[in-house]
């Protein structure tokens, strides 16, 4: 007979000990001695069948808390917490043995064990953790019995069953855990995202630029990417995605890049870990000027544009290596390619271009003239009331004098080309909201931007942002309030769960493997345990075998025969049937022979003779070979 109450108390004591032992070395002397004393007292109370009432324990807990918390300071955060946990665990053991108290003790023990990992993590921690999980599972199952009737009593057999099944739970869940580790499907959205489903994204960014197609541009706040990177000076926040180098009618488009000489970029190197949102275009934005992108299969072009091999239709991540520079050094370019003009240019623009061409010798001079011209026009940066109609660029420069980056960049680049300076448009994003908590930039669709690169002979491509010459526009760049937190939580979901791929898992496993190799057991433990195991294992095996093995020849033979029959006639052998009955019912000739020999010895109170035993062996053997 096994008393549930007693069993549960014993298990709880073990659980509490597992919580206490790993912490023990780091505790304040008071907590270190309080716990064993409490455990001993609890054992004493259990034997006496008593417990300390809440009216004693609650004030005691408050006093203990006050005493321990008095030593609290920011520098002693962990030690005080550990002391408190252990002391409360001890107090909990003294209380009445109710389900609630047991559960609290379990939770406290778990906290204690996790607290110990703050001090030291060794192989022993794993051993503690696994034994704690095992014991907790068993204890929780027993707790359900206890909740039903605290005085319930199980027979030895039942208790064995219950404990066996309960122990099976954590044991069976281990392989499942491993399985899920590899195969658990990950949702593409944070779980809490169902409340505001992502709106259909309107492209703020596109790989063609044709100003004047629409009178207004909608500001879309959709997220484009998040980039984990240290803070970058505000004026350097250009995210390069695409370079538009040719015309198709009036529109800037991207044509295959001529075989320029290889580009070199000098500047402060910034590494970014970028998590783009899904999008239709394959361009991989990164800080200007991008040097390389890894972590995702991509197609680099010599003008610093990187295209993913497959569309970004699921969440991915890549690493970008950028140099914050104004100039991309390229010794030679295909000048003619970068001087082509659109089909139609208004007369006013042409003449302006001629003026610029005549304003100076060098490209730098021409650019200075152009900048002065732009500033002199006093153009407003706007997303609404944009010039449209037959010649939007002409209207932008000379009549309406308002427009967005597309107008600025497009006009500037065309004027440069008219003036004989090779130029191209760079599309991407300007700015970014820095999330100081998460340490990343959030780039949204409304930050889409186009700027210009002009080629200076002997130097290379120089970045120019003509939009900067507009009558000021200001953007806030600091995320604030709840939005920041929400975005950060969502971002971490992406980072930790969604883009957590098999590579990382394998890396983790390898990492854990190499760590495990380096784990050191305390020296006395390793040697001693090995020796003890080596000595004990055969002994245990022998005891187990002796216990499982029926004591007599007769019983062994019978067990073999019955097992054989159970295999041959599944479900027929109930175990509560006489051998002769069974033989008559099953009409099994081997069994009939067996019971005749067996019964005439066993039921006649004499041991099997050697010959009979041999005969029975033979029958069992034949029966096992005979397949009906």
């Amino acid at each position: 007979m096994v008393k549930i109450d007693l069993l549960l108390s014993g298990l709880t004591a073990c659980v509490a000990l597992i919580g206490y032992l790993p912490l023990q070395a780091y505790l304040d002397p008071f907590a270190r001695f309080f716990f064993p004393a409490a455990l001993a007292l609890a054992a004493f109370l259990q034997v006496r069948g008593r417990a300390l009432p809440p009216r004693v324990l609650t004030p005691a807990s408050i006093l203990l808390f006050a005493y321990l918390a008095s030593g609290f300071s920011l520098s002693r955060l962990v030690p005080v917490t550990a002391d408190l946990l252990v002391v409360f665990l001890g107090v909990r053991l003294l209380g009445e043995r109710t389900g609630r108290n047991y559960l609290q003790a379990f939770a406290l023990a778990l906290f204690c064990l996790s607290a110990s990992s703050l001090y030291e993590i060794s192989a022993l921690f794993l051993a503690y953790l696994f034994s704690l999980l095992l014991l907790l599972a068993v204890a929780l199952v027993l707790l359900t019995f206890h909740a039903d009737d605290p005085a319930s009593v199980l027979s030895r057999k039942e208790a064995k069953r219950v404990l066996g099944v309960a122990a099976l739970i954590p044991v069976a869940s281990l392989p499942l855990l491993l399985l899920f580790f590899f195969f658990l499907p990950r949702t593409q959205f944070p779980i809490w995202n169902f409340m505001n489903p992502p709106v259909g994204k309107k492209t703020g960014f596109s790989d063609t630029v044709q100003p004047g197609t629409a009178p207004a541009v909608a500001e879309v706040k959709g997220v484009v990417l998040r980039a984990v990177t240290p803070r970058v000076p505000e004026q350097r926040l250009y995210w390069r995605a695409v370079v538009l180098n040719a015309f198709k009618g009036e529109a800037w488009v991207r044509e295959p890049v001529p075989q320029d000489a290889p580009a070199r970029v000098r500047g402060e190197v910034v590494l970014q870990e970028i998590y783009p949102e899904r999008s239709d275009n394959p361009y991989l934005p990164a800080l200007n000027v991008t040097r390389s992108i890894t972590g995702l299969r991509n197609e680099p072009a010599s003008d610093g544009v990187f295209q993913a091999r497959r569309p970004l239709d699921q969440k991915v991540r890549y690493l970008a290596d950028s140099a914050l520079a104004d100039t991309v050094t390229v010794p030679r370019i295909d000048r003619e390619f970068y001087l082509r003009l659109p089909a139609h240019i208004s007369e006013r623009i042409r003449s302006q271009g001629r003026d610029v061409a005549q304003s100076g010798r060098s490209a730098v001079d021409k650019m200075r003239t152009l900048e002065a011209f732009f500033r002199g026009q006093r153009i407003t940066y706007a997303n609404t009331g944009l010039p449209v109609g037959g010649d939007p660029l002409d209207s932008f420069l000379f009549e309406k004098k308002r427009g967005n980056c597309e107008y600025f960049a497009s006009c500037y680049a065309i004027l440069l080309r008219l003036a004989g300076v090779p130029s191209r448009l760079v599309g991407g994003y300007r700015g970014g909201t820095y999330n100081a908590m998460g340490g990343y930039y959030l780039v949204t669709e409304d930050m889409a931007h186009v700027w210009v690169e002009a080629y200076l002979d002997g130097v290379g491509w120089r970045t120019v942002d003509p939009s900067a010459w507009a009558l000021g526009t200001v953007r806030s760049t600091q995320a604030r309030g709840v939005a920041m937190y929400l975005d950060m939580v969502g971002f971490y979901w992406d980072k930790a769960v969604v883009t957590y791929d098999l590579d990382k898992q394998m890396a983790l496993v390898r990492n854990a493997g190499s760590k495990a190799r380096n784990l050191r057991l305390p020296p006395w433990l390793g040697r001693g345990m090995l020796l003890a195991l080596a000595a004990l294992a055969p002994l245990l095996l022998w005891v187990f075998w002796r216990r499982r093995r029926p004591p007599t020849v007769e019983a062994r033979l019978l067990r073999r025969m019955l097992r054989l029959l159970a295999k041959r006639y599944p479900g027929e052998i109930s175990g509560n049937e006489g051998l002769f009955e069974l033989s008559a019912r099953l009409h099994d000739r081997h069994l009939a022979r067996f019971v005749a020999v067996y019964g005439s010895a066993v039921y006649r109170d004499r041991p099997l003779s050697r010959a009979e035993a041999a005969e029975l062996e033979e029958i069992v053997r034949e029966a096992s070979q005979d397949r009906p």
């Binding site: 509560n576 051998l579 109170d605």
Partner: protein
């Protein structure tokens, strides 16, 4: 294992009777034969008209035994069973006229209608296997079997056998309705009472006596079986619903019946399943339940007890 004497003949009788003449009464026939082989007696408890008498008659004639019958009424006197001395005027002395009990097989019909005095006289004869009339003791024939019947439904004008006397019967059993097909066959055929009288003897009395002796002395009862029997007895004695469990006589009865069962199976030793085989015939009528649990089905209780005790296999 050598063949036991006369087993085949006994089984042949059972086979012949149950397949030819008394279809659907295998169990009752077997139990009757077991009672005969162990020298015990059998009480058939069932409603009238299920063929108790027919069975007794057929049984007697197939075994080649003499048959006597007593129809009990409330004014039946002991001497109507045992017989009495009658004065013979020509010879000038009393002559003892033997009653129906001086037969190998005696059918006592509706034993619970006889008055207690007569019942006791009868039970004494069953136990002692002899009758003492007017100071002279007469030995009853060998083999000797009393087949008593009792109607469990009728209550008026009956003297139910007290439990102490039920104990005298080795076996109590019902006959039960025959299976559907067999009953239809019987309906088609009509009563076979006349036919039965023509059944030739299938064995000789000597064979029967040999068989009885064999059962008594050749069939071995091992320790495991006695342990098992004792476990059953003890369980009935400790059972909360039962006031008085099995007596030692009940235990002996169980062992005897088990021996007969083992004999009929052709074994010279008793296996535990033989005991379990006969428990339902031997035990229930010996159990006395507590007054508050009178209505409980004895068979159920017994089944529960048997389920608790594992058969000793090793």
């Amino acid at each position: 294992m050598q063949r036991l004497a006369k087993v085949d003949e006994m089984n042949a009788v059972l086979e012949e009777l149950s397949s030819q003449h008394l279809k659907g009464k295998v169990r009752a026939l077997r139990l009757s034969l077991m009672a005969l082989l162990t020298g015990g007696h059998i009480l058939l408890e069932d409603i009238p008209g299920l063929g108790k008498t027919t069975m007794a008659l057929a049984f007697a004639s197939a075994l080649g035994l003499s048959f006597g019958r007593v129809q009990c009424t409330s004014d039946l006197l002991p001497s109507d069973i045992t017989g009495l001395s009658v004065f013979d005027r020509t010879e000038g002395r009393f002559n003892f006229i033997r009653g129906p009990i001086f037969n190998n097989i005696v059918l006592i019909d509706e034993i619970n209608r006889a008055m207690p005095k007569t019942q006791s006289a009868l039970l004494e004869a069953m136990e002692e296997r002899r009758v003492t009339v007017e100071g002279v003791t007469y030995q009853l024939p060998e083999p000797f079997l009393v087949l008593a019947t009792q109607n469990p439904v009728e209550q008026v004008g009956t003297y139910p056998l007290p439990e102490s006397q039920m104990d005298r019967f080795l076996i109590r059993t019902g006959i039960g309705y025959p299976p559907e097909e067999i009953e239809k066959g019987i309906l088609r055929q009509g009563s076979i009472r006349d036919e039965i009288l023509q059944i030739p003897a299938l064995v000789r009395i000597d064979d029967l006596v040999t068989a009885i002796r064999t059962v008594k002395s050749e069939v071995y009862v091992g320790e495991k079986v006695t342990d098992y029997v004792y476990a059953i007895i003890k369980a009935t004695r400790n059972h909360p619903l039962i006031q008085a469990g099995l007596s030692t006589r009940g235990g002996i009865g169980m062992v005897d019946a088990a021996k007969a069962a083992a004999y009929l199976h052709g074994r010279d030793f008793v296996a535990p399943e033989d005991v379990r085989d006969v428990v339902h015939a031997v035990c229930p009528h010996r159990l006395i339940f507590r007054p508050e649990h009178e209505g409980v089905d004895k068979e159920h209780v017994l089944n529960a007890i048997l389920k608790e005790i594992p058969l000793p296999l090793t």
